[in-house]
Amino acid sequence: DQLFGGSIDDDMLEELEEVLLVSDVGVTTTERILTPVREAMRNGNVDPASLRHVMKTTMSEMLMEVDAPMASPDDHKPLVLLVVGVNGSGKTTSIGKIAARYVRDGKSVILGAADTYRAAAADQLAVWAERAGATLVRHKEGADPGAVVYEALEKGIHTGADVVIIDTAGRLQTVRPLMEQLSKINRVIRKLVPDGPHETLLVVDGTMGQNALSQARSFHEATPLTGVVVTKLDGTAKGGMVLAISSDMAKPIKFIGIGEQIDDLRPFDPQAFLDALV
């Protein structure tokens, strides 16, 4: 790079660094990933292919260390999933997809439309409930989200449902009262299901940049996260910021969204993800 000048080694590192940065891996995580690469170079390894392999192995370890399967409906009845995230990240759509998987496996699913704020949010979830073969619990717009959660769980317990998935309104971590509302929803769940929610999934837009980590941290403070769903990876974005969330917060990525249709959900495959990234 002309601006900072340097040796062949510097150029090679600069190149690897750029590959990571344009994939939204971010400065801190890129540094963390390139440290073993620098070490390898210091030990005389200058083969670009081999150095790239060192880089990929480091990234793979970051993801594998925290890999964990979803909690199972066989262990909890009902299995309670709380889905959270910023506006437009893909929560409602992902819930439709996840519900469809459970129904396909013969499980009964209840969806709680706890987004009582955004225009036609419950109508949107209603369409997904129908497509997936799940039951919907909804109140009218403006109702208390906690009340919807309560009713959905009560119904789940009462009817012996296998899974209850709670959809929440999109919110930005900078809006204090909305983050507190999330904590309240968590408390409502624990009242009826003491060891719940069994999964609290942060849905992250795959096109998102460096705000992802502070976002994840804030949401985690409001309601302890158990995993991440990364959406919109069918686009051109690489989703590199999930490496920061994984390595910094030790949260596993459970699913990725690869489209807008009901089947466009895949369990997270670290190797495939890294192959697409670098």
Binding site: F4, T207, G209, N211, M241
Partner: protein, 298 residues
């Protein structure tokens, strides 16, 4: 208020008597890190740093001191000023306005999934109402579950009509809506389209078709302020296909730095027209370069 990155940059220059290639290097490096964290496109950062370097090595600015004398600015302050000036310059013009003087004026909203098009459609309608206009909204997203319902709710809230015909394709819908607007005296038509990937050829063709059919006065690219390095890839393709007239950056009430504003402006040459500052329909602001420049630089 300088961000840590920017503070670090200027710290490197403290006590220097003048700016040189050598002492600028670490300062530029710090600014680079700060801009990466602000989600500015990597190539745009390179371009920005090259310009700042040139400006910094240029003539040292003199300003009037409190006692009225002309004094040299410190190298540190000269560097800061070079950064802000270059950023504001690259961010482009303010008050570009909205061209809605057609009969009817037509605005087409486009962008990636979930970027805030439908909400911004509502916000623009509210703004136009306050300017004495009579907007008509077109529910041209026939794909997303309850997208039409969503726009209908917004229309009801504002007491603005929403044009929608079940089963009709977006191109025909838009054409009919414009004809309808003319016949009932609505003077601005805002077409809310479905979110789509820039690489989805069929759906991008649909947008090209809509544009070719109704010839909008404005095509607004709506972009989420939290977007990362994908901003340029996406904006470039939308611009190549549609030659949009401007863009809107949404969700700026969050704490994402919004570097996409600089990247998209720089790469497409198109102006930032509006900023979305919240979910409510009154949360739309006209673009102001200084505020956004400060936010991006930190």
């Amino acid at each position: 208020v300088l961000s840590r990155g920017f503070k670090n940059a200027t710290m490197k220059l403290r006590g220097q008597t003048r700016l040189t290639e050598e002492n600028l290097k670490p300062a530029l490096r710090e600014v680079r890190t700060s801009l990466i964290q602000a989600d500015v496109d990597i190539s745009v950062i390179k371009d920005f740093l090259a310009r700042v370097k040139e400006k910094s090595l240029g003539e040292i600015v003199r300003v009037k001191s409190p006692t009225g004398q002309m004094v040299k600015v410190t190298p540190e302050d000269h560097f800061i000023k070079a950064c802000y000036d270059e950023m504001a310059e690259m961010m482009g013009p303010e008050d570009v306005g909205l061209d809605v003087d057609g009969n009817p004026g037509i605005i087409m909203m486009v962008g990636l999934q979930g970027s805030g098009k439908t909400t911004t459609t509502g916000k623009l309608a509210k703004m136009l109402l306050e300017q004495g206009k009579k907007p008509l909204l077109v529910a041209a997203d026939i794909y997303r579950p309850a997208a039409v319902d969503q726009l209908m709710v917004l229309g009801r809230r504002l007491d603005v009509p929403v044009f929608s015909i079940k089963g009709m394709k977006p191109v025909d819908l838009s054409k009919m809506a414009v004809a309808q607007a003319r016949s009932v005296g609505r003077d601005v038509v805002i077409i809310d389209t479905a979110g789509r990937l820039a690489i989805d050829n069929a759906l991008m063709d649909e947008l090209v078709q809509i544009k070719g059919t109704v010839h909008p006065d404005e095509v607004l690219f709506v972009c989420d302020a939290m977007i990362g390095q994908d901003a340029v890839r996406t904006a470039k393709e939308f611009d190549r296909r549609l030659d949009f007239t401007g863009f809107v950056l949404t969700k700026l009430d969050g704490d994402a730095r919004g570097g996409a504003a600089l990247s998209i402006r720089q790469v497409t040459g198109k102006p930032v027209k509006f900023l979305g500052q919240g979910e409510e329909l009154d949360k739309l602001e006209e673009f102001r370069a200084e505020g956004l420049a400060q936010r991006i630089l930190g």
